[in-house]
């Protein structure tokens, strides 16, 4: 991890829907350093989720440039590999497959990682342990609480050890206690694994946990926030 290196570089990105009638992004520009924890906030419809989805290569921009770890997504031939290995996605609605167990859900991205069945299972178990759900590996999402489901989703996002974690309103559907647990988990993962964490939220309290808060309005970044100084970034003892 090198905080002086740019992990995500979004330049003047435009995204429209319904044949140009709806402008989701109107020239959004954003830079995120390696290992940084950035919260993107703004009112509903400001384009924050769209921006996150474009960084996650779930969709392509109409114009502009998104460069991740030095590679322009527009020039990337295999976006599937990017999605499975370069970024981990956590959605507001956990998006777990209801018929599979928690462990099987965590293993899903690993099918593209050339791991054997046993390696996949062992790694899924380690990840579930990391999110505090070691004893729930065989449980299907339908029998898990909202907070537990989101923790499984976080474990799935970490399946192939991506350097970037993208979380779209990960606490949006949770009560405050569960939401705090999920946020603490994301922060811990960001610090321990040194991943770059971009979190979209409309909740100011959740956003305040980030190192930098980016504000969006009408499809643009109106305030890129201020990156903390190196000294300020050091976590307090016992935190």
């Amino acid at each position: 991890m090198n905080r002086d290196r740019i992990a995500i570089d979004v330049q003047d990105v435009v995204k429209t829907y319904e044949e140009g009638r709806i402008h989701a992004l109107n020239g959004a520009t954003l830079q995120v350093s390696e290992g940084e924890f950035v919260a993107i906030t703004g009112p509903s419809g400001c384009g924050k989720s769209t921006l996150l989805h474009l960084i996650g290569a779930l969709d392509r921009p109409d114009s502009g440039r998104i460069v991740v770890n030095g590679v322009d997504l527009a020039h990337m031939r295999d976006l599937s590999h990017y999605r499975s290995h370069r970024v981990g996605l956590v959605f507001q609605l956990h998006n777990l497959l209801p018929t599979l167990s928690a462990s099987a859900n965590v293993q899903l991205p690993m099918y593209e990682a050339q791991l054997s069945f046993w390696e996949r299972r062992a790694k899924a178990q380690r990840l579930l342990e990391a999110v505090g759900l070691a004893d729930r590996a065989a449980t299907p999402p339908t029998k898990l609480s909202g907070g537990e489901r989101q923790r499984v989703a976080i474990a799935r996002a970490l399946a192939n050890d991506p350097p970037i974690l993208l979380a779209d309103e990960p606490t949006g559907n949770l009560d405050s206690k569960s939401g705090q647990l999920v946020l603490d988990l994301l922060r811990r993962i960001q610090r321990e694994r040194g991943v770059t964490l971009v979190l979209v939220t409309h909740d100011a309290q959740i956003a305040s946990a980030a190192e930098r808060i980016v504000r969006m309005l009408d499809g643009r970044v109106v305030d890129a926030g201020v990156a903390p100084t190196k000294a300020a970034r050091l976590p307090a003892e016992g935190e």
Binding site: H53, G56, L58, D59, D78, S80, H81, Y82, R83, S84, H85, L89, F91, N95, L96, L97, T99, L100, S101, S103, A104, Q107, L108, P109, Y111, E112, F117, R156, A159, N160
Partner: protein, 371 residues
């Protein structure tokens, strides 16, 4: 979870729908396999006839619509006997007419003197006497069905024949029929001097391919028959069966394909969001394709297994009827079941093509938002 188990689990999510689809496919496969077994068995029995009596090959009339309609003359028999490589040439007149409860009683008219060269394993009694006109050798199955043994008489074509011997060759047509003096059969068939087939035994060391080629070259009106393929080439009935088999296979693929497509389209549409999630977590298009095709192929393989099992049961059941038993000895060869499986896989690929293409073309974000 192994990828294959993921495919199995997807099918088990809609158990009734998957089962009904597999059963639908199995009906087509049952038809293909059952017809294939019957066709192959009839052909194999027919092919045995070509080598009856220990012959190296048989000769029939080229271009006859059915081998039993083949007409050869005693002059042609003489010409074949004259070939230096031929040790024996035996002419037989084959006739099929009802006898008792058997509507397909096969009668082989043969010179009693030729029986010495025509290897007929007698179980009881003796061979036809030289110059006899009213004697018959019965196959073991015919003897059993008619309840006639040595010394009994049978009435055939308004004539009475004394059973002088019982034989068993292992061929259902021969064992379900009888052997009579050639002149007698020619007389009641009004085919004096005519025969259906000439059985040829070559001298030791003779190249059969060269001999048959030479005979066909010298006599374009004759067809030498050594293999099942030769038989199918000259017998239009066999060709018709092959054509029917092919047509039913295509029909099974088409009808089965529509059934599978219906199931797979529903399955893929219902799982649009899930497929979007799989794409979002990094599944390649190829893996989604493998999943959809895998489900379809598994469904059809199950259908093929059920269909093949039903085909075996049905073909065994039809043997309950003595009429069928008298001309059909079932042979279950791997190629018939492989063809059934191939039809199943063709059904799977045809049925899954459109849903699979739709699944891989889904944009991850649009699929995730799909309600």
């Amino acid at each position: 979870m192994p990828f294959f188990m993921l495919i199995v689990r997807n099918l088990l999510r809609q158990r009734i729908r998957s089962l009904l689809t597999a059963l639908g496919i199995s009906i087509g496969i049952t038809t293909v396999v059952a017809l294939g077994v019957v066709t192959h068995s009839v052909k194999a029995t027919a092919a045995e006839i070509l080598r009856a009596g220990g012959a190296d090959f048989a000769i029939g009339q080229s271009g006859s619509s059915d081998l039993t309609f083949s007409t050869l003359t005693s002059e042609q028999l003489g010409e074949i006997e004259a070939y230096p490589g031929v040790e024996h040439a035996i002419g037989v007149l084959m006739v099929i007419s009802p006898l008792g409860s058997n509507p397909y009683f096969v009668q082989l008219g043969i010179e009693p003197a030729d029986l010495a060269h025509f290897e007929v394993p007698l179980l009881e009694g003796r061979a036809l006497a030289a110059g006899a006109t009213d004697e018959i050798l019965l196959g073991r199955e015919a003897s059993r069905q008619l309840g006639k043994g040595v010394g009994d008489t049978v009435e055939l074509r308004d004539r009475r024949f004394t059973v002088v011997g019982i034989y068993r060759t292992g061929n259902v047509w021969e064992d379900g029929g009888g052997m009579l003096p050639l002149a007698t059969v020619q007389e009641y068939e009004r085919k004096r001097g005519l025969m259906t087939l000439i059985y040829v035994r070559a001298k030791p060391g003779i190249d059969l391919a060269q001999l048959t080629a030479r005979i066909e070259q010298d006599h374009p009106e004759l067809a030498t028959l050594r293999t099942l393929s030769d038989y199918s080439d000259v017998d239009q009935g066999m060709q018709l069966m092959d054509a029917l088999n092919l047509a039913i296979s295509f029909l099974a693929v088409f009808i089965g394909g529509i059934g599978v497509m219906n199931t797979m389209v529903m399955s893929v549409f219902e799982r649009t969001r899930e497929i979007g999630i799989l794409r979002a977590v990094g599944w390649r298009q190829r893996r989604v394709l493998q999943m959809v095709l895998g489900e379809s192929i598994l469904l059809c393989v199950i259908g093929a297994l059920i269909g093949s099992t039903l085909a075996v049961i049905f073909t065994r059941v039809i043997l309950i009827f003595p009429v069928v038993r008298s001309f059909l000895a079932l042979e279950y060869t791997p190629d018939v079941f492989i063809r059934g499986l191939a039809v199943g896989v063709a059904v799977a690929l045809l049925g899954a093509l459109y849903p699979a293409i739709r699944a891989v073309r889904l944009s991850p974000i649009q699929a995730i938002r799909y309600e």
